[in-house]
Every structure is written in structure tokens, then in C-alpha cells.
Symmetry: D3
Subunit: 241 residues, 6 copies
């Protein structure tokens, strides 16, 4: 693959990824994840309550909220709290993060408690939702370990690992982990959430320009699959430190 | 494929589909679409203005809003207007419908005007978003034809056709066009928006239970592709009446 | 009375009225009512709960909500859910519908449950609130009959029937059941809710131009009274089918 | 008429009415009106602008807003600003006040300006909307006179006078100007807005218990008519001071 | 001190202060307080409940809400209920009033009940928050006396008295109790809440133009201290009537 | 002064302060300020527009917004965007930050542009508003220097420096720069904003328990004054790097 991506990376190359645990001190899990210049603070908060629809069922809940600091972006965006509510994009992203993380949690093993994953973007450069999912997983594991260290739960409710990456078609070539400049220039953009066993948890592909063909879709999925494998390795490495 | 779907349909069988044009009289396009018991009223409204970010650029806009009547569902749901705003699910769906329809419109040919597709679910039985996209396309074509009949636009801004269908894995078997009972019982659920040339516009797959394997994904995409081909034929037939 | 109403009707002539029961399948009562081109879907939903102020009192509640699809009207109106809440006109109308229907219900006989009448205008051509009341009564009766068929209530909580019609003064002549064009041209506009015994439940008259004289008011009330008698016959006929 | 109304008044007797002009000093018109223990502060504010739908048409606008101080009532009610918006009752009342006052204003003579009538209930004891209309008329005249004293308008845009009163049926007898205790005990309650020429501007009657008969309606209208005549005399007297 | 304040008052002179009790009849305490042309209606409402965070703790709560009628000011301001919520200035003021009054209440002696102080500005001419605090104290005492007269509480939960006044630096000279014209012309503006023992409860000083020096601050505090002493005397006088 | 503060610090000792510039890359000024465990990200965003009330006046504007990440605190707090708006505490703090920073800006020299200071608390341990002001000043200077480097402004609109610190009375002794544990235990709490010339910009003192005496106030102001002198030195040092 010889192409000149705006970022200078190879088509199948992730941006430098860093996962810093214990970034803030109050949360049961607190991770600063960076995918290149995209930096997201992911905290996991444990609360001994569940939403009304789960009360008394012996099951826990995992949910997510997403936010972007007003000047995480090149132009200042209005603060959602000042505008009076969360917009459609925010809701869509936080629903995605929540579903992704619930896919690796046995909610009965968690017991009647809620873990909320707050993913706040400190700096944005494309791929905030995929970075958020990848970092939130590590925060979730830390929060669960905190519960286990206090003997609050008997068996590990987390099975497998979950990570996410974006892929897109840039000038006809499938490329991995788009930054903002690449994302803006891509015809097709796909976010892929997978587990460490190679299973798909969520696939969201959108043709921005021309509709994509089946063989393009296949190439994107292969690229994403390899990227998630790398990201899961980064997660394991961070958790082992 | 011998399996007993709850609906009694074959795995690759759509529900009865009907597309009724001119259902209401004020809108430039007005379609009642039914996928089995799911009934969605799709109107296309033409307005001679564009959103602020497009003013003076000679381009038009296509957008969508989605709503569900309170008793479209088995249990009454609270009216979003009474609750004080649209929820996350509604926003996610209407953003999807808007993207899907924009994928078949040349916005320069449309000129500086907006077509709003209002998709209101009168009765829900699974697949409301895919029915909405499929019906909204027909309403959009009617609205564009109304503009053309008044010589407001010179060339047809609509290229190709767009339709959508859901697919899922029911008891290990990929099945097409899930109704509510099937959707609730499926492990994996995917909404696929395609054009009539077999290109993918949007793919949104979610593992509800276990993550899905690549070969399952492939089977689902093949099923969806055949389903959309049938739906595009229904659209053509409706438009030729 | 020889006058040329815009609609071509006689001064005391209703528009064609149709009342279609079981229009959707989930609601306990579901009626599509048409007064000419005005079409309103009225559903009655039974819920086994009452508002806080009635808890433990052995009484039920009947309430209504009103909505208008964005393109029910000649010009698209903004969706109230998107605007962040219901406007003054909507609240005024739904309060009126609720009061009207409560006037024919023995709430002790209903027991501690709520019937919500959702009146959603699919197509508007004047008189949406009077059509809504007239149709909602039929939906209410169907919902009560559903409860009775399940032996949930012992005696019929509905006494009498309720219907409504608008009247106005068009070019000096009192006329019945205004469509949108007539309503816009009328000096005085009155909505009258009555029962089938000729009793008045609600009278709301507004002088749009000149104040109206007592004898005009008398003529309007007589016209409305005859109109409601006809509408109650239509309701009975629909319920007997 | 010999009956024992809770208030001890005759059936056709108003409560003591007082109309105090110039109650506050900033507003162009400022009136404290009292119908017995009901006290409403009505201010008229002149602004040199009109709503968007009137811009450039050479017409003015008259509108009203209504509020109730939290402890104007026997039980404290939640402040609408704290609750996040105006409720249905408030909107219904302020729309009524606005329509009532527009009925005596020639908006072309007013010119492109808006007069806003703010009616804030300091103490409530029934009939707040009728007191508000009666007092707002006087504030409106003061504001118009202020404009005329500055030669901002050439001819008087106010024609006639507008006042309002409630009537109801208390234990079978029609009674005038209900206080809170009477209102709670009445079967039927009607608010009547009239001009000083005996014309009806708005009639809003509601059967709280049994539907009312035509002869009851007639008696109520006669009672209201006499009451408004008295109120218009009070207005003239206040304006002549 | 010879200076020509806009108001013609001496530098250390309060505006005429009046405190009228029992201004409205429903509230347990109801006071109209006037600091010159600033007039605020302060009601104290007793409710037999406490906020969630105090339930079951045997303590009461004292809180405040603040509002301004739309035409209390020279230009009409938009009604907060119509705008959809309370603004920052309103929240800041009502939080201040609440803290100020809680500073003289033994909440255990009050028992599990809430006293809400509603301070509504009928006419504004500077110093609305200081007038509100000064008047609300008297309303609070009346409400507590009402409770005591019914033997609902055993010992007086109010200790000492609380009053407030503004001070500022006008053309280099510290002056007491600013009216609107003075406030607009002052470089520095300070609101001081004190008790009748000379203790400070709240000091909020803001440099509008140049930062103020320590000796200016000292002079302002001395002026405020004398002013509050006078105001406490007015409160005692009002309460003894 | 020998006392055992919870933090082990001397009464007049600040927490370790760090000021890290260029913390994120998009904003014209971006500072991570830490007062001990309190960490606030302060960005300064330049926009070439002013609020409506300043248009065409040749003046600029400086404003601030404040936010707290949900898990910046020991217990998770609800996200304001999800709750539908900013609360009273947030509004009070962001108004304070804005006033504080405007006190050192010549808005004519700034020209018709707005600098928005977003202060987002990543981790809270008391004193978030004083840290925010101290850090926002540095971000403001960086943004102004960015403007000057592009020759967008001719002369420096920033005069002097602004910093803030909290002081309180802990067990009878005045102490500087309260952390959360100390703040909770203090009877009196004061936030003091000053410039580097020793002038006061804002003084906000609140008695949480007993009212404070004048001599206590004097001691607190002296302590704050020394603290701000130290903080201004830290700001200078950071800006010189």
C-alpha cells in the first residue's frame, strides 16, 4: 500500500495510542486515552443503585455519557449545558458507548449497581467515540477491580475486552483510524466496535459521498479487525502496569 | 432454510409492503408506507429557504424528522412534546433518515431550498426506521416532481433510489425484515440502507447478545441486499401508478 | 337561507363526517374521525394508574393530549417536540378535550385507572378540536367496552354522549361547521360542546372582528345544537357497526 | 332573589371593585385592580417594535402575559420560572386577555409598536382573569394617552371599553362575580368579556358538574351583561380621576 | 461630608424605609418593604415538608425565591417563566437571600418543615436584594409567630435579626443605600448582610471600574454597619406594631 | 501560628500551585491550573464577534463559562447538559470569573471581538473558582499575545494581573486557600479576587455558622492579600517560560 495519507501514516497504521490510568483521583476508574491528538478523559463511577426498570431484578447497569469541552475543537462550540440540553450527535455517541461496554459485562455478576462511564473530550482530532470506547473499557475494568478488592462482587462481571476504531475510504483506499483532516476528506466512514475474540459488537458505516461496494466494506472490516487487535493489546498492556 | 420464525415467514421473506401515495393533501409528497403492521406517514415539505450554514451557496438541503404517536406502540409512550424534547432514540433515527435520503440527492440541482421529510409512526411493529426511509424516498420523489412540474428546477436532483431493511439472527439463522416480536428475540440486529445499484449507504449492526462473527455479518448483508432489491421494485411500482 | 358559503354548503350543513373505528390495533379505542378534509386520529389508552392527586380515592381520570403532524397544515409547522414543548394553543385545546370527555364519565364507576385520549391531527382543514372531541368520544366508549368485556368494571361509567361543532358568522349569516377558508373569513367563531340530551358542556365564542350581539349568539347556539344532534347520530351509527 | 351565597352578596351583586391607577411608576400604564380580595397588578408597556409577522405592515400589536405570585393562593404554588415554563392554564389565560384587549384597539392607528399588558396576581380569590381584563383595559388607555401626550400617534386607537366578569350557577341560581369559595361550589362557570356597547367579545362557559340548559345560559348572559355595564362605569370613573 | 449625591441624600443616609406587614392575606408572613422607590413583596410560606436531603433528620429548611415583575424596571424585561427558566442573576440573588435568612434560624428548633421566602419586586430602583433580605426577615418572624401561636413549635427558632444594605463609592466618596441612578454611576458596589449584633453574614463587593483599596473597603464596611443598625431598628418597630 | 490544619499546612500557606500553558492545542490560550488536587482546564477562545448589546461600539467583550466534569468530585454529580441547563451555583461562579477578568481588560483596546474563558474542573478539591480565575488570567494573556502576534490589536488590552484565593476561619484561626475538607469544616469562607497592585476586585464572604466579626474580616483580607501576591508571582513565572 503506497499512498500519501494526510497524516503520513500507512493505510493500516494506528495513530500513537496512549492509555493513562488513575488520571484523576475520585473516580473508581479514571483513564486518559489518546489516539494521536484526540484526548478523552474516561471515568467509571460506581453507584449502589440501578435505574427504575431494573429495580429488584438482581441485575446491574452500565451506561455512558459523552461530552466535549467547548474548546476541544478548532472552533469553539457552544456548551451543551448552556444551550439547554444534549444534542443529537451527543446522544447518539453516548448510546453507542453504553451499548458497546454492556456487551462485555455480565450484569447479574455485577449485582444491583450502576457503573457510569463519563467520556469527556479534552481535545478532538477525529475518532473521539472510538477512543472513548477503548479508554472506557480500561476505566470499567479498574472500577470492577475496585469493587472486587472490597469483596463487593464475587466473580468478575467483565468477560473479554472491547475496543473500537474508525476506518474509511480515502481516495479509493481503505485506511485505518482517521484523524479529523482525513475524516473530512473520506467518502466513507465506519466505526467498528469489536471484542478481543474477533467478534463484532457494533458496525456503523456511512457513505458520505458515493455508496460503497461490498468489496470495499469487506476491506474496511478487515482493516478494523486488525486495528482492534492492536488496541486490545494496548489495553492489556495498560492494565498490566 | 426450514425454520419457524414467529411470523411464519421464510427467512428471506419481507412482510407485505404497501406504499400509498397522496395520503394527505397539503404536503408536496405524502406517502403512507406499511411494512406489515408497521405504518408510517412520510410527508415531504418543500420550503424556499436553507439552514444558515448553506445560505448563499446555491445548494439545497434535505432533512428528516421522526416521531411516534403515543399509542403507536403496545404500551402508551409519553408524548415527546409533553416531555419537553426529543429523546436520544428519536434523534438518532431522524439523523439516519436524513443522511440516507441525502445520499440520493444532488443538492446543487435542488437549488437553495429545503425538503423536510417528516416520518410519523401511526402504528409500530418493528422496523419503523427502515419503513420510514423506504417511504420517505417516494415522498421525496413526489415533492421533486411537484417542483419540476412548476419548472422550479431544471434537472432531476434525485439519482437512483434508496430503501432500507432490517436483518437479524434469530436462533442462529439470519432472517429478513424483523417484526417487533422477532426483533425482541434476536441476538443481532442490523439496519441496512442501500441504493438500487447495490451500493451501501448505511450499515448499522448491533450485537444484542453475543458478538457476531464475520460469516454471520456476510450472510446478513446478502439477505439485506436481496430485500432492498425487492423494496426498490415496490417503490418503482408505486411511483409508476 | 340562500348564501354562497365558500364551501358551497347550506348554512346549516355539516361537512361529510366519517368515523372509522379500530383504525390502529394497539390502542383500546382507536378512531379516525373526518369532518370533511379534517382528519384526526383519536386513540384511547387505558392505564391502571391515576395522577397523584387522585391516588387512593377510588376514582379514575380521563385526560387528553392533542398534537398536529408538522405537515397536517398548508405550511409546515415546527414539530413541538423539536421546539422543546407544547405551545399555548395546543395546551388550550387538549385541556378543552379533556374537560369535554370528563363531562360524560362517572369517574367512580371507572375505578382507579386513567383513560388518555390522544388526538393527533393527520390533516387539518378547520375544526380540528371539534372533530377531536367527537371522535374521542367513540374511542372512549370502545375503551370502556374493552374494560367491560374483561369484567374490569361493573357498570358503564359513560353516561350520554358528547360531541362538538364550530359555528361562526360569515358575512352576517350564522353558518355551521367552518372549514379553514370559512374560519379565516368569519368575524365570530364559536366552539360548542354538548351532550346528546341538548345540554351545554362548553361554549367558547370569540369575536375576531366586531363584537357579536345577543341575537347572533342565540342563532349560533341554535345552529350548533342542531349540528351536535346530527353528530351524535353519526357516533351512535358508528358504535352500532 | 333570596339566596344565601357564601359571600352573603345578592345574586347580581359584584364584589367591591377598586381600580388604582399609577400603582407603579415605570410602566406607561400601571393599575392595581381589586375584585374583592382578588388583586391584580396590570401594567401596560409600550415598545417601538412589533413581532416578526407584522414587520413593515404599518400595524401595531397588543399582547398580554399573566402570572401569579407563588403565594397569591392559599397553598403556595411553584413558581413557573423555577419549573421551567408557563403551564397550560397560564397560557390559556394570557391568550384570552390578549384577544380581549385587541378587540378594542385599531392596530393601524396604534402604528408599528407593541403594547404588552402584564397581569400579575398579587392575591387570588377567584376571578383573576376577569379582574385582569378589566384592569388591563385601564392600563392600556393610560399607555395610549401617554403616547398621545407625546404626539406619537395621531388618533386614538382605542374604541369603546372592554371589561369582563364571571358568572355561575350556585345551587341552581345564577350568580355574578364568583369568589374562590363560590367558584369551587358552582356547577357551571362562565367568563364573559364584553364591550361597553353590550357586544360580546368572548364567552367561555364550562359545565363543571351537570351540563347546563339553554335557559340557564340565557340567565347567565343577562347577569354578566349587567355586571360588565357596572364594571365599565368603574373604569370610566377611574379614568376620569 | 458635603457632596451632591444624585438623590440629594447625605452620604450616610438611607432612603425612606417602610415595612408594611400583612400586605396579602394568604401567606403566614407577608411584608411589603420599600427602600425609596424599590418595593418588594416578601411572603413567608410554611410547608410541612423538607427537601430530600433533610428528610428524617429532625431539621427544618429556610429557602428563598426571587422574581421581578416584567415592568418593575424602566424597560420591560422578559418574564423568566416565558423565557423558560431563571437566569443567572436571579439564581445568584435568591441563593443569597436564602443563606442570609438561614443565618438567623435554628433549624432544629424549626422542626421538619420548610419556610419559603418569596421576594417579588413590584418596582425596582436599586437595592432590590437588600430590601428583599430586610423585608423577608420580618415575614419570617411573622411566619414563625404563626407557628408558635398554633403551638407547632416549642421554642423560637429565630435568633437575632438580619438586614442588608448596599454601599458604594460615588465620585470617590463612600455612600449608603444606592438607588438605581447612583448604582449605575458607582465604581464600586457592595452588598452587606449583617445581624443586629454587628456580625457579618455576607459581604459581596465588586469593583465595577477601578479596583478598590483597603481603606475604601474599610469605610464602606463602616457605613454599611451603621445602615444595618438603622434597618434593624425599623424591623423592630414594624414587628412591635 | 501553630495549629493543626487538616492539610498540615501553615495557616498562611498556599497549596502547591502549578500553571501549565499550552495544555491543549486548539485554543488561543490553554492552561491547566492546579491548586493542590484541584485541577481546572482554562481555555481562552477568540471570536471575531461581540454580543448584541455591544455591536458597533468599537468595544470587545470578555466572558466566562464554568463546568465541572461529572466525576471531578467524590460523588458523581449529574451532568448539567443532561439535566437540561446550568444550575445556580454554576451561573454564580461563571459570572464571578467573567467580572474578575474584565477588571483587567481595556475593552476598547481589545476591539470588537470576544474572548471566552472556559473553565472546566477536571478534579475538585475546594477552591475551584479561585483556581479558575488564576488560571484563566494566564490563558487570557496567551490569547491576547496570539492576537498581538498577528497584529490584530495595536496595544495591549490587559493591564495588571488578576488572581484569586479563598480564606476561611478554621477553629477560630484564619487560614489561606481551603481544600475541600477544610472548607467543609470552616465557619466562614471568603473568596477574594485582587489585582497585582493590591486592589480588591471582588470580595465574597459568607458566614456558614456564626457571623464573623470585623477583626476576623480584617485578618482574612490580610491573609488573602498575601496569598494573591504569591499567586501573581506564579502567574508571572509561568508566562515567562
Amino acid at each position: 500500500m503506497s499512498l500519501a495519507r494526510p497524516s503520513g501514516r500507512r493505510a493500516d497504521q494506528l495513530r500513537p495510542v496512549s492509555i493513562e490510568r488513575h488520571y484523576t483521583r475520585h473516580a473508581e476508574g479514571s483513564v486518559l486515552v489518546a489516539f494521536g491528538d484526540t484526548r478523552v478523559l474516561c471515568t467509571a463511577s460506581v453507584e449502589e443503585k440501578v435505574p427504575p426498570f431494573l429495580r429488584g431484578k438482581g441485575e446491574g447497569w452500565v451506561t455512558a455519557e459523552y461530552g466535549m469541552l467547548p474548546r476541544a475543537t478548532g472552533q469553539r462550540t457552544q456548551r451543551e449545558a448552556a444551550r439547554g440540553g444534549q444534542g443529537g450527535r451527543t446522544m447518539e455517541i453516548q448510546r453507542l458507548i453504553g451499548r458497546a461496554l454492556r456487551a462485555c459485562v455480565d450484569r447479574h455478576a455485577l449485582g444491583e449497581r450502576t457503573i457510569t462511564l463519563d467520556c469527556d473530550v479534552l481535545q478532538a482530532d477525529g475518532g473521539t467515540r472510538t477512543a472513548a470506547i477503548t479508554g472506557a473499557y480500561v476505566a470499567l475494568v479498574d472500577a470492577v477491580n475496585w469493587l472486587r478488592s472490597r469483596n463487593a462482587i464475587k466473580r468478575d462481571p467483565v468477560f473479554g475486552a472491547v475496543a473500537a476504531v474508525s476506518v474509511g475510504i480515502w481516495q479509493g483506499t481503505p485506511v485505518l483510524d482517521l484523524d479529523y483532516a482525513e475524516d473530512s476528506a473520506c467518502d466513507t466512514d465506519m466505526n467498528v466496535v469489536m471484542n478481543d475474540g474477533g467478534g463484532f459488537i457494533e458496525v456503523q458505516g456511512t457513505a458520505e459521498g458515493h455508496a460503497f461496494r461490498r468489496e470495499e466494506l469487506d476491506a474496511l472490516l478487515a482493516l478494523a479487525s486488525a486495528g482492534v487487535t492492536e488496541l486490545c493489546a494496548k489495553q492489556r498492556e495498560a492494565l498490566s502496569r
